[in-house]
Each structure stands twice: as C-alpha cells, then as structure tokens.
C-alpha cells in the first residue's frame, strides 16, 4: 500500500492553474524524485502534501487514511526551498521549539537533538545564535530540525543548494540512512545528477501536469535511443550501408553508434568482428535524466506563462 496517494489534485490561484489534475503514488521506503522546471507546480504540490494549502479538488490519502493536516503533521518533515530559521534565537533552543511544535515532548526532543548534534558534530553550537552560523552550518541545522521527530515522510526541497561537496555528501549519506531505516523521502531538485544517484522513482511535472512517472531504470529504458559506445583498437574508416548501425558521433577514443531499428547489439558485434576489428569496449548509452528532462520540457518558455483559469 502506498504511503502517500495523490488523487486528481487541483489547485487554482486567481491567475494561474498551479496544479492541474495530478495523481501519483509514493510507496513506503522509496526515495522519490519530484522534478520539473521552475513554475511547474512542484512547490504548490508539496505545500498541499504538507497541509499548508488545501486542494481545490482531489484528495490526499496518507498512511491509508484521508490526510489530516492537524494530526499528520507529526509524521511529516518538510524542508522548504526557502531556508529560514529565527536568526536571533539560540540553536539548541530553536531545535527544541520546532521539535515541540511537531509534537515531541520536552524530554524526547532534548534526547533526539543531542543525538543528531553529536552525529553532525554540532555539539559545541548549542548556545550559538543562528545568525552566527555559516550557510552550510545553517543548512545542516535545518536538516536536523526536519528529521528530528522521526517522520514517516520526509520532503526535501533542494536540500543541497549552497552546500560544499563535503556537506553535500554528508546529507546524501543521511538520506540513504534514513531510507534504510524505513523513512520515505520525497526529494525535489533541478540537479539531475543527484536524482540519478539517489532516487529510485521519479515523477516529472510541467505546467501543473504530470508528464512522467516511473522508476529511474524504466524511464531511461523508455527514452533510450539505441545508442551504444564501441571502443575499437583500429580506426573504422567507412561504415557500409549494410551495417546494422549508423555513426552518431565520437567520444574520446570510442565511437557512438545508433543501432538501426530491428537490429540487435549482437548483430553489431558480429558485424564488427567479421570486419576483423578488435573491440575493447562496448556499452549501452542510456539517456541521462538531464537529457530526458530537457527533451520533455523543451518548447516550454523558460518562464512559465500565466494560464488564465477558464471556469
């Protein structure tokens, strides 16, 4: 059973159809990538999942029941793209405050905060004010406050923005860790290389609609263009029209070939071997999510135009 089911969600603002009939399921334990260009409706969608906005139409089923914005907040952790914490408040105190607002008791909160602070080597910061922290440290703190209450569903919006490689890695490891311990994570970002690294399931949203939904593997398979990279020890001068492939380009010392429709990689190998050439490498080139993203979204103006709401 899916942890989160979104059914035909719609959210229209006065001038804009922000979310226009989106349905998707997030299974327990998944690391789910929510992707889309700027203005696609991701943030609005996320705000409905976290109970900040209420949908105009459609329903949200969380953990088997209808989503209850008041009771379920304790089971959800949300780190918005717009980072923010009370600047003048001491860190330990602030983490306690936010944890208690999520429903943790004073004692529980204190124990859990200590645990996370130690894990992230933030022990010495307890009494510092947020404004004394560097950006990276602030983000780590915000991450801690998001996952402190051990939520079932964690939503991270651009969690890596502004982090150096070391801290990025730290957060990435934490995400894997949390997932291993049973949490479900929805991860929204523009950085496709990270999506490939981290997510196992993705959905692509554009203009308020869902245009892609599947596992990373599946999506790549769906969009593959039969491109292969073949590394030969001798240069190939001409490719006869009888060959089961065409030349698509070169990359370093390998050739990029596109296998013609109806032919298989085995035929390619046989063909090349019959030519008396020796092969030192042969891989499939699957499209990167970056390429897929651009391909699907291309044609959209770079800034989303306002679509008038037709009643």
């Amino acid at each position: 059973m899916a942890l989160l089911e979104l059914q035909n969600l719609k959210k229209y603002f006065a001038t804009q159809k922000a979310v226009d009939d989106i349905s998707l399921n997030v299974e327990q334990g998944q690391i789910f990538g929510l992707l889309g260009p700027n203005g696609a409706g991701k943030t609005t969608l996320i705000r409905m999942i976290t109970g900040i906005f209420y949908p105009d139409e459609g329903s949200i089923i969380f953990d088997g029941k209808k989503f209850d914005p008041i009771k379920d907040v304790g089971k959800i952790g949300y780190m918005p793209e717009e980072r923010g914490l009370y600047k003048k408040m001491k860190i330990g105190e602030q983490a306690m405050y936010l944890a208690q607002l999520k429903g943790l008791s004073h004692r529980d909160a204190q124990a859990k905060i200590k645990k996370w602070f130690t894990r992230f080597e933030m022990d010495s910061w307890w009494n510092k004010k947020v404004e004394d922290l560097s950006k990276g440290m602030g983000q780590k703190l915000q991450f801690v406050t998001t996952v402190l209450h051990e939520p079932k569903l964690i939503i991270l919006d651009e969690p890596f923005s502004g982090l150096d490689p070391v801290n990025s890695n730290l957060i990435k490891d934490e995400i894997f860790n949390l997932s291993r311990n049973g949490a479900t994570i929805i991860f929204s970002t523009h950085r496709m290389e990270q999506v490939e690294e981290i997510c196992n399931h993705i959905a692509l949203v554009n203009k308020g609609r869902k245009i892609l939904d599947g596992t990373v593997k599946q999506v790549k398979q769906d969009f593959k263009e039969n491109l292969y990279s073949i590394g030969l020890n001798q240069p190939l001068h001409e490719i006869s029209t009888l060959a089961p492939f065409t030349l698509a380009g070169t990359r370093e010392d390998a050739l990029i070939i596109k296998i013609k429709d109806g032919h298989s990689p085995n035929e390619v190998l046989r063909f090349v071997l019959d030519q008396g050439l020796s092969i030192h490498a042969f891989n499939e080139i699957l499209p990167s999510l970056n390429d897929i993203f651009i391909k699907l979204v291309e044609g959209t103006p770079t800034a989303r135009q306002f679509q008038p709401v037709q009643s």
Partner: protein, 423 residues
Amino acid sequence: MNKIWIIIKREYLTRVRKKTFIISTLLFPLLYMGLIFGMGFIAEKSKQSLHVALIDSSGYFTEDKITAQNLADNSSLITLVKSKPEAVIADHKAAGYDGYLIIPAMDWKTGSDSLVFKADKSYGSGSTAAVEAKLNRIWSAIKNDSLQIDGEKQKILSQRLSVSSYNIKDEKANAKTAEGIGYVSGFLIYLILLIYGSQVMMGVMEEKTNRIAEVIVSSVKPFQMMLGKILGIGLVALTQFFLWIAFVLIVYNVGIASSSSGMVSQMVGTMQKIFSSVNMPLILFCFGFYFLAGFFFYASLYGAIGSAVNEDMREAQSLSFPITMLVIISIAMMSSAIADPTGPVAVWGSIIPISSPIVMMARIPFGAPGTVPWWQLGLSMGLLILSFMFTVWFAGKIYRTGILMYGKKPTWKEMIKWAFRKN
C-alpha cells in the same frame, strides 16, 4: 491548544529576557510621570513676567498703590514713570522696560477699555493677562477710594459664591479627581495600545523576515501561530504593567514608612485622598477589562497588517496608518468626554468598540451607575468582546494568506478578500 501554549511560552520568554524589556519597564513610569508633570510645568514656565512702564496722564495712579500691588504679586512689575516719558516712549528697552502703557486722561467713573501695552515684541495674552489683572486691582483700589468704600465694605463686595459638582448617585465620585484619573487612565490605555499594537505587528513580521513561515505553517495552523503571538505579547504587556504597579506600590509604601520626607509624604497623602474619593475597585476592574479587550481588538488588526507586508517597516507603517488614526481619534474624543461625561460624544465614544477602551476609561471615574449607567457599561463591554472576537477571526484569515505571500504590497481591499476566501 497545547501548541498554542508552546508558542506563547516562546514569544513571552524571548521578549522578557531581552535587556530592553527591563530597561523599558523601569524607564516607562519615570517617562510617563515626567510627561504628565512636565507638560504642566512647561505651561507654567511659558508665562513671562513683564516690566511695564506706566505713563499716567489721568493722575489717579499713585506710587503707593502701585508699590502695594507689586509687593503682593510678582507675576509682573509696574513702574510709574515720573519724569521724561518721551525718553521711555522713544526707547523703552534702553530705559529698562519690556514695554510701556499710556493711561489717557480718563474719568474714574468710566475708565477705559482700550489701553494698549506697547512693546517691541508681541507678547501672548498669558503674559499681558497678569499685567491687566494687577492694573485692575490698582483700579479697584482707586475706585474704592473715590467712592469712599472702606475696607469692611470692600470685603463684603469681593465675596463670591462658589459652586462645585456633587454626584448624588455615586457619592464617591469627586469631579476633580475623576477628571485626573480619567485622563491618566485613558492616556495610559492609549499608549499601551499603540506601543504593544506595533509590537504585535513587528512580532508577526518576524516569521516572514526570518523566512521560517513555511516551516512553521507545516507544523501548526496559521491561526494557532497568530493567536500564540498575540497572547504571548499580551502577557508581556501585562507583566510590564504589573511591574509598574509594583514599582508604584513600593514607592508608595516606602513613602508611608519614611514619613519624614515632606514632599514624598505629601504626594502619598494626595494619593491616599485620591484613592478614597473614587470607586477604586470598579476603576481597576474596568481598567483591566478595557486594557485586555482593547489590546485584543487592536493587536489582531496590527497583526493582520504585519502578516501582509513584506518586511518593509515603511509599508507596515503606511498600511497601519488607518488603525493608528482610530486610536488617536479616541484620544481626541476622550478630552471631550472628560469635559462632559454624559454628553453624546462621551456616551457614543464609550460604547463604540473602536474608541470604548479609551473613552469609557475616562468616564468611569466619574461614577457608575451615576454618570455611567450600568446598561451603558454592559453594552460597551459586550460590544467590545464581540468586536475583538471578530477582529481576531478576521486577522486569522488574513494571516493565513499573508504569511506565505512575498512580493507585492497588498491593499486593504485585497486583504479583505483574503478574509472571505475559502480554505
């Protein structure tokens, strides 16, 4: 409701632990007293004591009569010019006078109503009034002599009847002290509404400025956040108020204990007299009620504005201007209410929720049920309660939308639309 309590605690502790809280708690009573007494003091000081050269062509004004009056009253100094009046007229400043006054040849039976004090500056009527009064006392002495009215007859003539107001329904209401208390408490509520109203406005802007609004709203309902803020800041106001009262009480009791110090014990004596001449329990109860209810009414409106603007104090100030005007209008109505506690301005002002916290507080010391019938008091309180329930609800709706909105500055019309939008 537990979450609201957590928010209240945080808002309260954050503010109470700041140094500015302690400083303002100690400073405010001193400043407030300084304001009240200082205004009176300055008013007194601004009257000038004039040195007048009297050039008498009538012959009535004699040296001894003038000297007698100068000794009795030093708010002005009149000197009779015996020789060379032309020199004085030409340059009175060189002769050492502020100005000169020529008494024409006139008949003691008719006098003159067109005397002019000539000077090289314009003097206010406050200063010339003292001269006029002294001159008239001298003139009375002259007329008494001419009419041959002796000292005894003068005494009988000068005796006046004096009338003061007495409230038969509420014997404790003494008009003079009632005015004073009315003024003081009305003004105090005015200050509290303005100061803490803007504190609420800035407090509400805190989440937006720190960009933490989204995180907060994903944990609690916006209404809970707003209510927590208003209650937390209200508690700070209450704490500060009780500290002031404690401060005054300490001074009061120290004053009683050390009855040696003349001025302090005099002040204490006056305070005791004031407190016993009015219905203190009623006044205190009403003050508490109007303080709190007025605070809720205005704080929620200020809070709504704080949530709608984008961290820019000027935007906040321009949008909150209409609200501030309402408070200022209430103060204007208050002076009218004190002058005539049963007049239409006073009655309506104390019932309409916008001005009732200030105006009713100004009226109450005059006595209930005498000056303020119970039904008026009840109606005023009831309407105020209903009103603040409305403004809190209204503010909650605006807060819900405004807190997440960054970008253009909304107008009041837009904000009203937010209030009636569905969730």
